[in-house]
Structure formats: C-alpha cells, structure tokens
Symmetry: C2
Subunit: 273 residues, 2 copies
DNA sequence: GCGGTGGTTCGTGCATTCTGAACGGCGTCC
DNA sequence: GGACGCCGTTCAGAATGCACGAACCACCGC
C-alpha cells in the first residue's frame, strides 16, 4: 500500500458538494498532516489535473475527473446491461428504479430512472451517497460483504436513524442481513423516509460476486398490497442483468429445491393490474 | 512534486474508452516501471476506490471517480453560469453549442447542447477529448496560454491533420493564436471536419484567466453568410458567462477605443433572420 | 502600519518506496 | 492431458524520495 497515494485519495475524498473548495491549511488539519505535506499533495494533484487551483490559491476538483468518469460510464458493462432492464421496469411499473454500488462502505447511486407515477425522491440522486444500513440496495450490498467488513463500516459511520423504522442495533442488522442473504432480496419498509418503501435485489458479475444492487421504490400505500409482485419483478430484473454480465447459476437462492434452469420469466416486469 | 502521486495519476490516465481495462504487466510496460511498482500502484488505487479489480486480476476505473465527477459538476460555477446562456443560444439559433476546457494540452468538452437545426457532430461529445489546434474552442484556449506551453503541447502531440484546412505548421499556429488573442474570438473553418465551421470565444474567471471556451457550431453553408452575427452572438454569450463568474473589464479586447461599459446587448443571442 | 492568517519554500534525516528475482495460479498450445 | 509460458502477486535489501518543522511572503483586516 503506497501511503502517499492513499493520502492523495483521502485528499480527493475531502471534496464534497457541501465543501467543494479546500485550502492547504484546512486539508492539513483534516488529515492531521503538516501544512507542507498537504501543500505538496494539493500541488501535485493540481498539476495532474485531478484538482484545479483557484486564483486565490485554494483548490477544487479538476476536469480530469470528469473525463475519467465519462470513460468509466462509457465502458461500464454494468450500466450497459442494467439500463435497458431498468427502462422496462420503469415503463411497466411507473415507479422509480435505482442502481447502486458500494463505495467505501456507503451506497453510491449510479443510475436512477424516475417513473411517471413516482414521487420525487430527493435523498437519492445519481452520484449521491447514503449510509448502507437503511436502504434496500444498501442492505443487499452489505449482506454480501464479509461480516467483519460490515462491522468495520458500522463502527466507522454508526447507524444513523432516519425514521422510526431505521435499523438501530448491530444485532438487528446482523439478523436482517442474514435474512436478505438467504432470501436473495431486501425490503426497505419506510426505513429511510416515512411513506417510502422499496424492494431491492443483488446483481452478480461473472465470477459470482455481488457488484451492485437494483431497487424499485414505491410509496408505502402502493408497496404493501403489491409486495409479492414487486419482489418478483426486481429479483427477476436483477437476475436478467446478472446473466447479461455473464453470471449463470444452477439454482438461484429462492429457487432452492426446484431445479428450474429456465431463463427469467417475461411476466415479472409487467405492471400490476 | 510527489512522484508517487504523479505516477498514480499517470496510471489513471491510461484508462480510456479504447482500452478501459489494464493488467499489471501492461501498466508496467506503458509507464516503463517494474512490475512490482505497477502492482503497488494499481492495488493502492483499487483499495481507495479509484480503480476496481476485475475477478481475473485486471483493473478498471472505479466508482469513486463517478462520485467525484458528480461533485465537480454540482459545484462548478462555470457550468452553472454557462448552461442557461448556452440554452438561450441554442434556442435562438437552433445550432449546437459546446463548452470546453483545456486538460493536459487537449480540449475536453464538458457540455454540449444540440440544436434542432443542427447536424449531428460525432467527434465532439461530453467527456471526449480532441487536439486543441484544430477546433475553435481549442484555438481560443491555446491563445491564452503562454507560447512555451503551446510549444510543449505541440511537440508532444504533434499537429494532427483532419482536413485540408487543419493548421499544419507551428508558424501558422503562432500567427493564428496571435490573431485569436487580438480579436477575442476564433473560427474553425472546416478545420476538423469538412462542411463544419464554428465560432468560439473565451470565458474568463474573476481573476481574468481564461478557464474555458464556448462555441457555436454551424454547417459551412450557413456559417459563411452569417459569420458576423455568429461572432457577435458567441462573443457576447461568453462575455455574459464571464461576468456571471465575476469578471468585469473596462474595455473588452474588441472594444478598444470605445468606452462602452454597457452590459451585453440583448440583441446578440437572437436568431438570424 | 501592524498583526494575523494562509499559501509557499527549503534542507535534512529517516522511512518508504523502488527494484529485481522468485512464487504460484491459470490458460493454452502442443 | 501434460507441460509450457504468461501474468498477477510476494518478498527482502538498498537508496531515494518523502515527511517534517521552521522560516518566508503575500494578503487582509484592524
């Protein structure tokens, strides 16, 4: 592990929408390093285009990051595979779908398609982060991490409460993740926002690793009556993306016992009547 | 300059849409460093989320970059200021406008709004790079760089020819950039693509530095008859963005002699009759 | 004009990175 | 199916590049 590079990455991570501009002294304080060191990091990152220097000697994120991000999006098999599936999902249900990955122990939303029946979900947004323990996608992603990793994450960020339904204890989380892993999907039952629910399912890559999660967000009053159909829909959609990514498994978790090797049923993405 | 960070940045820059996946050996060869060093760089970058490891031990860009890029876009005063102006420009002319910055000696397009009368411009795209010597925005950006910097860029990347009109010699470039600097705008007269022209103007930040360039791209047969109006429109639009960014100058270059301190005329963004 | 804040520079000592060789897993070609 | 070769990974010694604190300078507010 190259510590200098680690520090450079830490510096980049300081820049957030809340504080998009940093000075040398601030960075030094934030990372608990001497000013001269912070200066060297900032200067180098700026010279490489990852940061840009403002006229008054402070620093902001640089355009190279934008370019790299575009390259990432262009070449992402995940997005390519997920987008059409998400579009069909939105077309069928009129609800909002999310695609998210785990970054640094938190949920990072990488795609969001809003349906016409959907209510505006402000919290989630493309490029935005949220704690993982409270959302459907977050629980799915955590459930497929080693428990020690989950523990580290929780110890670092805590279990922030958004609603009365938010998971509050480590024990609760452990049980919930176990259930999610077993059944192959997760619900968010008004855990991040009162009145908002979702069903989420994991997306596997060719090696069988869970690399992302997909969800269908629904107002509570439409969620509870349709939970079963929603579950089938999102699980099936996620499976379709996984298969597109080269993942094939004899029996999917919730099919234990059956030996159905058939491709995903076309039924699942159809709208509720 | 922290060399380790420099190398890390070099590694990131290797990842392009053309080759979005790299192995240790490839990176080592590309940067002319030992395998073990390349391995350390890749591993660290992956641990920090700037890269991701594929199941078979190769590397791709990581989702952190996406997040950083979103933060950049969210907090970019340039984009916030430029977007409405570009929209009015497109609405008035029906042509395509570009917003670009200089990254590593090349033009990086950061925004592109396509008009309804416009022809599809494939070469330019948000997040895409092009050499600077041939496009309108490129010439504007180069014109406001020190000549030694321009020379370095040219020596590194050469003067690639796209059409018979592309600038081919350093001497030509020097003259053209001088003219662009004097007059405060640049034309691209079928220099990157036959049949395609554009007018481009610089955008200044509060400190008087040129940080971006804006252009209006027009098919050749509509360009030549309307050149004067086009020029006024793009120069005026760019000035409006500059002023939004906090740049005020007594006399703009092309106003030498006059002492018009009046705000930009509303006329300029109106459509040609 | 003075003090304070914040960005920048410099030189030295020490730890971190660099290097090259060896290991082991995987795919492939015979 | 076996052996070869490629490639990602690991390790230990050696020197180079980074960390550090003090000092400098420019700007701003008082």
């Amino acid at each position: 592990m190259l510590q200098t590079v680690q520090k450079a990455a830490q510096v980049l991570r300081l820049f957030t929408p809340r504080q998009p501009e940093w000075g040398v002294t601030e960075v030094a304080a934030a990372l608990a390093i001497p000013k001269s060191g912070a200066h060297a990091l900032l200067r180098t990152l700026a010279a490489e285009g990852l940061l840009q220097r403002t006229p008054n000697g402070r620093y902001r994120l640089g355009w190279s990051l934008f370019e790299l991000s575009q390259t990432l999006l262009d070449s992402s098999a995940l997005l390519r595979a997920a987008r059409p599936v998400m579009e069909r999902l939105v077309a069928g249900w009129g609800e909002t779908t999310h695609l998210a990955v785990l970054v640094d122990g938190q949920v990072l939303y990488v795609e969001k398609l809003q349906g016409d029946r959907a209510l505006e979900i402000v919290l989630s947004g493309v490029g935005k982060r949220l704690p993982a323990h409270c959302s459907g996608v977050g629980k799915v992603l955590l459930a497929h991490q080693p428990w020690e990793t989950v523990l580290q994450i929780v110890q670092r960020t805590g279990l922030v409460s958004f609603t009365p339904n938010t998971i509050r204890t480590v024990e609760q989380l452990r049980e919930e993740l176990e259930r999610v892993r077993q059944q192959g999907f997760a619900y968010d039952q008004e855990e991040v926002m009162v009145g908002l629910c979702c069903a989420a399912a994991p997306i596997y890559d060719e090696s069988g690793q869970v690399i992302a999660a997909m969800s269908l967000s629904v107002p509570a009053y439409r969620f509870y009556p349709n939970r079963q159909r929603l579950t089938t829909a999102i699980v099936d959609a996620a499976r379709r993306v996984s298969e597109e990514l080269g993942y094939y498994q004899e029996a999917w978790p919730w099919e234990n016992g059956k030996q159905s090797r058939s491709r995903s049923s076309e039924l699942a993405t159809s709208a509720p009547t």
